[in-house]
């Protein structure tokens, strides 16, 4: 029995096109001199739009579950939700690890520090959840917000607090106190970052948005620490409080980079 090579005709070409298969060299040679196939190929071109629509539909079909619902909320609600989540985190942190003494530092200073940190957190959250249909803020304003977010806790640590200094907690060594504050701050900040991630529509692929979320987390962590820790020494505040934002930026930056590479 001998095998003969079948020369493709119009039907073969149309069949291959309808299946989305690449044309063989023989089929391409046929198309190059066949007006019917050329017309058929031109008519089939809108199919590429159909194929693209099928991809879009499939991607939208995967938008299910709680996270999909959260990121599809109107942006106003997403920002409000993130701010409410931040308030819950601080309240929970304060209830779980209450400040041992409110006396030494004047109440006005405490209120001022927490208010500044809360306002900056809300601004960073708003900027981080900015939707894509809005022209992006200038790079400088985003970088400025990140810098302010990381610098304000350092400023709070370096500037002398009013009132008598509190150097340690009763029964707690300096290093455990620093580590304890660092962990509480990082915990609160991480919870906020997770909340922002859940509400994110894809902006967290950008390094600036990742840093912005980390800065927001650092600010919130410091707000929680203001309501937890009465120590006012510069060394404690620098090592236990101001490093929270920097550590979150480094950790979330690395995690987001790995995640992006894995999904790229």
């Amino acid at each position: 029995m001998t095998h003969t090579r079948v020369v493709p005709d119009c039907a073969d070409v149309a069949e291959a096109v309808s299946r989305g298969e690449p044309l063989s060299a023989e089929a391409q040679a046929h198309v190059s001199h066949c007006r019917v196939c050329q017309a058929s190929r031109d008519a089939a071109r809108p199919a590429s739009g159909d194929a693209l629509f099928a991809r879009v539909e499939a991607a939208i079909g995967e938008e299910r579950g709680l996270l999909a619902r959260l990121r599809s909320l109107p942006t106003g609600l997403r920002v409000l939700g993130a701010v409410a989540w931040a308030v819950i985190i601080v309240l929970a942190s304060t209830l779980a690890t209450p400040r041992s003494a409110y006396g030494p530092v004047p109440a006005q200073y405490l209120v001022l520090a927490v208010t500044v940190l809360a306002i900056l957190t809300a601004l960073a959250v708003r900027l981080d959840l900015r939707p894509l249909q809005v022209v992006p803020s200038g790079h400088a304003s985003v970088l400025g917000m990140i810098a302010v977010g990381l610098a304000v806790p350092v400023a709070l640590a370096v500037l002398p607090a009013p009132g008598p200094q509190v150097t340690s907690l009763p029964g707690v060594g300096d290093t455990p106190a620093i580590v304890g504050c660092f962990l509480i701050g990082c915990g609160a900040g991480t919870l906020l970052i997770l909340g922002l991630r859940a509400l994110d529509r894809g902006a967290h692929r950008s390094p600036t948005n990742v840093l912005l979320a980390a800065a927001a987390g650092g600010l919130l962590g410091n707000a929680a620490l203001e309501l937890h820790c009465p120590i006012t020494t510069t060394v404690h505040l620098l090592l236990g409080h101001a490093t929270v934002g920097i550590a979150l930026a480094a950790a979330y930056g690395i995690a987001a980079l790995r995640l992006t590479r894995r999904t790229a």
Binding site: S32, L52, R55, V56, I60, V135, R201, G202
Partner: protein, 184 residues
């Protein structure tokens, strides 16, 4: 029967009318794809960005407000995604090198002329700065008025007019004054 406007379709989609999404896609995806293909090196990347744009349209559908115009809204998403694409790939905006039909032996005469014209336009666009190319793409290829283009690229109207004027002049120069009547 009168056809619904883009904005009416989007409002219907936000209320859950899936057929409206298909109509929006059919109306706007060809223009979007055309713009993206003029800005990206690889056609598949252009398709990916169009897909991402419509996915974001879906995610942001409840953000669409009465009085907003859909086309600039959608193209702002696309341009932001395109910026992110270039940033992530650490690439500068470039024009495609894989030009339609250039290596396609099956191309007919009329089509060949059309594709040659498309190649010429691509060549001309490649001569523009990224800022000029954004403005020209949105204005000429997508048919978006300059005031809206200005909002989308985050520049003043006068700055956008200057970019457009210089961009069109550069394109005319690249193509030769009389060789391409398509260029406005």
């Amino acid at each position: 029967m009168t056809s619904r406007s883009d904005e009416e379709l989007m409002a219907a989609y936000a209320r859950g009318d899936a057929a409206a999404f298909r109509e929006i896609f059919e109306r706007l995806s060809p223009i979007l794809l055309r713009v993206m293909r003029h800005q990206l090196r690889r056609p598949e990347d252009a398709s990916d960005l169009v897909q991402q744009t419509f996915l974001h349209l879906h995610r942001s559908r409840l953000d669409f407000r009465d009085g907003a115009q859909l086309k600039p809204w959608l193209f702002t998403i696309a341009m932001n995604l395109k910026r992110e694409y270039f940033r992530r790939a650490s690439r500068k905006p470039e024009s495609p090198l894989e030009l339609d039909g250039r290596a396609d032996p099956s191309t007919g005469n009329d089509e060949h002329h059309r594709l040659e014209a498309a190649d010429a336009v691509e060549f001309a666009l490649s001569k523009l700065s990224p800022e000029q190319r954004d403005v020209i793409s949105l204005h000429w290829l997508a048919g978006i008025p300059l005031p809206e283009v200005a909002q989308m690229v985050g520049a003043s109207l006068s700055a956008v007019k200057v970019r457009a004027h210089r961009g069109y002049a550069a394109m005319r120069q690249a193509l030769g004054e009389s060789s391409n009547p398509e260029v406005p």
